[in-house]
């Protein structure tokens, strides 16, 4: 209780979730968009997905630090870094989902006289939803990780409380904040997993 009030954990949690949801919103938007665009333009696909892959290999702290001169310190670079990391799993899964729809479905849709656009949005897209949801689940984990790191560059959130704990060598703060962050992460992952399973049940695997 002492730790909870002295480290303002209620406020920190709200800051944390705010950054998380803003970042996720844009990641999903951009990820699905890039996924659809790469599906429509196959030549682009390899180069776009490969360059996103390179971003993924950059250590998260290094990426955050590199964004500092461009976006200042605090919330800005944290959200941008989260988005940069989270686009790849969503875009890649969208692309894979759209490309791997069984032939029969497409042939039936063609036979019914659906246009290319209708095939994409009414057949391919719904059938890729389970995979896209899987990508979003990975993105939730990535975003949670980067947002926690944001505490190191003055973005607030629960990472700030963790850093305080380490600097003050205050075991209580570290244990309580660490366990709380872990719990939130596991719960969010569980919710994302449930959504993925709902789509799987609805649209096949």
């Amino acid at each position: 209780m002492r730790v909870w009030t002295s480290q303002l954990l209620t406020l920190r949690t709200l800051e944390h979730l705010y950054m998380l949801f803003v970042a996720l919103f844009f990641s999903i938007l951009l990820g699905v968009l890039i996924g659809v665009l790469t599906y429509k333009n196959r030549k682009l696909a390899a180069s776009v997905l490969n360059s996103l892959n390179v971003v993924e290999t950059i250590p998260d702290v290094a990426l955050l630090v590199l964004l500092l001169p461009i976006f200042g310190i605090g919330v800005g670079p944290t959200i941008v870094a989260s988005i940069l990391y989270s686009i790849l799993p969503i875009a890649r899964n969208t692309y894979t989902g759209l490309s791997n729809v069984p032939r029969e479905y497409i042939e039936i849709a063609d036979a019914l006289g659906l246009t290319q656009r209708e095939v994409l949005f009414k057949v391919r897209f719904p059938l890729s939803l389970p995979l896209i949801a899987g990508g979003i689940r990975i993105a939730v984990v990535f975003t949670m990780g980067v947002v926690t790191l944001g505490g190191l560059i003055a973005a607030g959130g629960l990472g700030a409380a963790l850093q305080n704990g380490i600097q003050l060598y205050d075991m209580g703060t570290i244990l309580i904040t660490g366990a709380w962050v872990g719990l939130i992460a596991v719960i969010l992952d569980g919710i994302a997993g449930m959504i993925e399973n709902i789509f799987k049940a609805r649209y096949g695997k």
């Binding site: 630090v65 926690t148 850093q163 244990l175 962050v181």
Partner: protein
């Protein structure tokens, strides 16, 4: 230019930290995987636990090591090891169990023992997946080794964080660029080795 020596030393420290942890991770993962080959219950337990732990942010794992184990080089190695363990186990497991059932049946048909099937059928089929797991783990180890500078692990992270607190951009870059260089080098070299290790009949 005084920085060059410092950066060089930090880079060596960084590599030592990350790879001591990776090696420890592989050593711990191997028996776990070996036992789970013989017990489906243990295997599913390990997988469930791995998935759960993987959701927890690295920073929280690194921080939690402090009250539980302490600060310094060894706790840093343990923190990184805990983190890289999961992708290795998960990928090996997926590789070993996603073998075409027909292949296993026909191996039984020609009279191979359980051990021979693991040795000559399951393992070669799992190489690409195992390797992908180790590649991911290596890149992850590099990334978390930066963070463990906060708990006294040393390495390039300590240069980055020192630069951050003093608003010293040169210093920040002197720490950041080698870290990124290592990451890109790992990605490239592992992809080459992966290609080289994959049995011909599995290459696309």
């Amino acid at each position: 230019m005084i920085l060059t020596g410092e950066v060089l030393q930090a880079t060596l420290e960084h590599l030592l930290l990350a790879y001591a942890a990776l090696a420890a991770g592989i050593l711990v993962a191997a028996p776990l995987i070996f036992f789970s080959l013989y017990s489906a219950k243990l295997a599913s337990l390990i997988m469930k636990f791995s998935n759960l732990v993987q959701a927890i942010p690295s920073f929280a794992v690194v921080a939690l090591v402090v009250p539980l184990i302490g600060i310094g080089f060894t706790p840093a190695v343990i923190a990184i090891m805990l983190r890289v363990l999961l992708p290795i186990i998960k990928n090996t497991y997926i590789g070993l169990f996603n073998v075409d059932p027909a292949l296993i049946e026909s191996s039984k048909g020609i009279g191979l023992s359980e051990f021979q099937i693991i040795r000559h059928v399951r393992l070669p089929n799992a190489y690409p997946a195992i390797f992908a797991g180790i590649k991911f783990a290596a890149i992850l180890a590099n990334s978390i080794a930066v963070l463990t500078a906060l708990i006294g692990g040393g390495g390039l992270g300590s240069i980055i964080f020192e630069g951050l607190t003093n608003f010293n951009t040169t210093k920040v870059l002197a720490g950041t660029l080698p870290v990124i260089g290592i990451a890109l080098f790992l990605d490239f070299s592992f992809s080459r080795i992966e290609h080289w290790l994959t049995p011909e009949y599995l290459q696309k």
